[in-house]
């Protein structure tokens, strides 16, 4: 079926199997490989993108759900001003290790930053609880997001 939606603010049109996963559409049809597949069952959050402004695991979204939708991937977040400030905080805290889960963390923490942004550890933990990281033990991720909240909190 033909589906028209917005991907990182650009209108796009695809002709696909209605059950094709959003994750595959992003990675294969648009070659945006920043979004990763870690588990394929919505548990790990490595494939997190924003769908109509909300974080979703793109491995559990089908093409049929995309008509007129707005999708933002880590590549899209990286182009926004707030996204860049957030990423700079992740850089400064040296939070990254293997990096496979981080595009998902960037998307989830970007969402928290623009919808709440309070530098509150418990809230940050909840906002990131849909993303699994096996390397870091999370502490440095909290530091990075806390720093970003203090830097841009209230700006949105």
């Amino acid at each position: 079926m033909k589906i028209a939606f917005k991907l990182n603010e650009k209108p796009v049109m695809i002709d696909v199997d209605p059950m094709r996963r959003l994750l595959d559409i992003i990675r294969e049809d648009f070659n945006l490989t920043g979004t990763k597949e870690g588990c394929g069952e919505g548990e790990c959050g490595a494939c997190t993108v924003l769908l109509n402004g909300k974080p979703v695991t793109s491995c559990l979204v089908n093409a049929v759900q995309l008509e007129s939708a707005e999708v933002v991937t880590v590549e899209g977040v990286s182009e926004t001003e707030i996204g860049q400030k957030l990423i700079a905080c992740y850089d400064k805290t040296n939070a990254v290790q293997c990096g496979f889960c981080f595009p998902g963390f960037v998307v989830s923490s970007y969402y928290y930053l623009i919808h709440d942004g309070e530098p509150d550890l418990e809230k940050i933990k909840r906002a990131l609880s849909g993303n699994i990281c096996r390397c870091t033990g999370y502490t440095k991720i909290f530091e990075a997001v806390m720093m970003a909240c203090e830097l841009v909190g209230g700006q949105s």
Partner: protein, 711 residues
């Protein structure tokens, strides 16, 4: 000093870094492997699903292997593909390729086999309990003074069990193979820790059909933790065969559920400790450790894991009559392999739990009991190696300051007597030998290469992979600092067996300790030749010398001698040390344990990048805590867990608070860091539970069902 920002950080955060599944080639096929659905048997027939057109698929069986059907390293006893007899559920039977991933996966799911099933040993604890299941490598360490047992000595016997653990690297295993028909070179790219292992595996399976193999790593390796040490050999071998047969590039990415079911895990263990204490001062007079690991069906890496396990079995304690017996147990399950700590977490869990059990028995607090028994500089380890330094004492004393352990232990006892919810605090100590065990590094003779280009770019060629632990940054720092050259112009080159010499596997906490220190030495030599001038200036004055290539070999310290037969001598030249305290909350009505706060003090010698080191420590401790608390892999009647929905990993909401500090950082030697954080948390957690509840539970994880059962 401010830590330099990781050079791989930004590209990973913005999604630019390419992991193996992000690479594509023209005409590429998707590969998959069909793994045995039964535990043991003899295959009579393979039946393919009828809904597919078989001619669209490339199929490879053991009979199609032009070379040898044996994975060459580490111990060559494992088949690439089943010939007729199946030894375990999850054993690779055939490789399949097709242009479409979904199609190849549904095809493989539809394959059935007709098989004469044989009885199989799959129950882990039952397998470990029966020493008749022992096979392969057996190690005895027995160099102490043999005392006759005094009937007055306090005798204790305890058995400790630890389970499988899934590495759960976020990026599943994967490889791309491309056979070049003109050059007859097999090109491999993938996610792995040991490119030269993969090279020899592909050379072996392809035999004389190829001229050679070139192995390159993907830019990003999405975690490994030991899980990508030897299993990549099999994926690379089968994928190479598929590429050779089809004439096309083939990419094989394991589906997560398959990855969890068939790849190598941490070995389940059974450690039986018998101890005898002097009744006057409660010091250890005699210690006997029976240490068993469930290897699975083949030995593969297990003999080396066993070696590290037995060498750490005495912990940090003084005992002049210690006997350690290590055995591998064979079961009809996939071979277990490397996972951060490599046998040491299992034996240290046992000895550190035993210390608390003994303290409780004789009525001393766990700290006082440890203080009486800690070994000191010059005391003999079980191999007769003298304890090189008193740094374990220093980590412990600093830990007590940081955590206020003694005050907390008192406060919690008072609190628990009047409250329903309990608090507990537990201690644990660890040592971890850096680099390969015994003579391993002598045999490996790692080689490194540095090239200085005309534009003063310094390129580092090693084969040790960046899998998240930070070596892309820290190895570059080692060279940049010694050379007095900017870090931006000092580049770690992604491992490629056609360009980098064999600097050995990325394992055993050896990358900074062996390779980093070797690079520093080479950089110092280059600096000495250049003199005081900048590298740029020197190149201007001596243009003919550049590009300049320098190589160096690891040169072993000749005073380090280890007898592989008797296990006498220097097991490891340098040890890292650690002390840890964990505070928990325990709800006795729901049997739930919650880690609240963790303090850890580590001596890893010189710290190259403080942020990276803290990240390694907290990440490793987290893996250790949840191995002890909640990660479980098998359920009776259900078998192995089948994905991240079943195998429950800690999330941000589970993370405790951390206080981590490094001491003795002014050392000239950067010692091993990667594994020691995994060695101590499970015992500290278990001992905190003992402190909170008064109950000794000798098996992890401490899930509510177990606590309930043991009550």
């Amino acid at each position: 000093m401010k830590s330099p920002i990781r050079v791989d950080s930004h590209a990973k955060l913005t999604g630019i870094t390419k992991y193996i599944d992000d690479y594509r080639e023209d005409g590429m096929l998707e590969g998959a492997i069909f793994f045995s659905p039964v535990h043991a048997g003899k295959i009579n027939k393979i039946i393919f699903p009828t809904a597919f057109d078989l001619t669209e698929f490339t199929l490879v069986f053991s009979g199609d292997i032009p070379g040898e059907n044996i994975v060459p390293e580490p111990v060559s006893d494992q088949l690439f593909l089943v010939e007729q007899h199946i030894g375990y559920k999850g054993q690779p039977i055939l490789g399949v390729a097709h242009p479409d991933r979904e199609t190849v996966r549904s095809f493989v799911e539809g394959i059935k086999i007709e098989v004469d099933e044989f009885p199989a040993l799959t129950a882990t604890k039952a397998a470990l309990d029966d020493a008749h299941n022992a096979f392969g490598r057996e190690i005895v360490i027995d160099h102490g003074t043999h005392h006759d047992i005094d009937p007055m000595w306090i005798h204790t016997r305890s058995v400790y069990y630890t389970p499988h653990q899934e590495q759960a690297y976020l990026e599943p295993q994967g490889m791309i193979a491309r056979f070049d028909a003109e050059t007859r070179i097999m090109n491999i790219r993938g996610t792995m820790q040991c490119p030269y292992f993969v090279k020899s595996a592909v050379d072996q399976i392809m035999g004389s059909k190829i001229e050679g193999t070139i192995v390159q790593v993907a830019e990003g390796i999405g975690g490994a933790f030991g899980g990508k040490e030897d299993f990549p050999n099999i994926i690379a071998g089968v994928t190479a065969l598929l590429s050779y047969r089809s004439g096309k590039p083939v990419k094989t990415i394991l589906d997560r559920a398959v990855d969890i079911q068939v790849t190598t895990k941490r070995h389940p263990s059974r450690t039986e400790i018998e101890s005898w204490l002097d009744p006057n001062d409660f010091t250890l007079r005699k210690l006997s450790v029976d240490y068993r690991l469930d290897a699975g069906f083949y030995q593969t890496l297990s003999p080396v894991v066993l070696a590290r396990g037995v060498l750490h079995a005495g912990g940090c304690y003084k005992c002049d009559d210690i006997y350690v017996h290590g055995r591998l147990i064979r079961s009809n399950t996939p071979p277990n392999g490397a996972f951060r700590g490599f046998g040491a977490p299992q034996s240290l869990f046992a000895i550190e739990s035993h210390m608390d059990d003994l303290a409780k028995k004789v009525g001393l607090n766990p700290l006082e009991f440890r203080r009486r028994n800690l070994f000191k500089s010059g005391d003999k380890m079980p191999t007769t190696q003298p304890v090189p330094e008193n740094h374990i004492h220093d980590t412990l004393e600093r830990l007590l300051d940081l955590s206020d352990y003694e005050a907390k232990a008192k406060d919690f006892a008072a609190y628990n007597s009047t409250h329903r919810l309990k608090k507990g605090i537990g201690l644990s100590l660890a040592l971890h030998g850096g680099g390969y065990t015994g003579n391993g590094e002598k045999v490996l003779k790692s080689e490194i290469k540095v090239v200085i280009e005309k534009d003063a770019t310094v390129k580092i060629y090693v084969i040790n992979t960046e899998m998240g632990q930070g070596v892309q940054t820290t190895l570059a720092q080692c060279v940049a600092e010694e050379l007095g050259h900017p870090l931006e112009k000092t580049i770690y080159m992604f491992p490629d067996t056609s360009k980098a010499p064999n600097s050995g596997p990325t394992v055993a906490s050896r990358t900074i300790y062996i390779i980093g220190n070797l690079l520093r030495k080479l950089a110092r030599e280059i600096r000495a030749e250049i003199g005081d001038t900048s590298l740029e200036e020197y190149i201007r004055q001596h243009p003919a010398e550049f590009p300049m290539e320098r190589r160096a070999h690891f040169t072993p310290d000749e005073s380090v001698v280890f007898d592989e037969e008797t296990y006498k001598g220097t097991g490891y030249k340098d040890y890292s040390w650690a002390a840890c305290a964990i505070e928990i909350a325990y709800d006795p009505d729901t049997w739930t344990v919650e880690p609240v706060k963790v303090w850890a003090v580590l001596d890893i010698g010189k710290v190259i990048n403080h942020d990276v080191a803290i990240g390694q420590a907290i990440g490793g401790i987290t893996q250790g805590i949840f191995w002890g608390l909640s990660e479980y892999f098998e359920k009776e009647g259900m078998g192995r867990m089948n994905g991240f929905t079943d195998y429950v990993l800690p999330t941000s909401l589970d993370a405790p608070e951390f206080v981590v500090e490094f001491i003795h950082t002014n050392s000239t030697v950067a010692k091993g860091l990667g594994e020691i954080p995994m060695d101590f948390p499970a015992a500290a957690l278990r001992n905190a539970f003992l402190n909170a509840s008064g109950k000794s539970i000798n098996e992890i994880p401490l899930i509510p069902e177990r606590i309930f059962r043991e009550e």
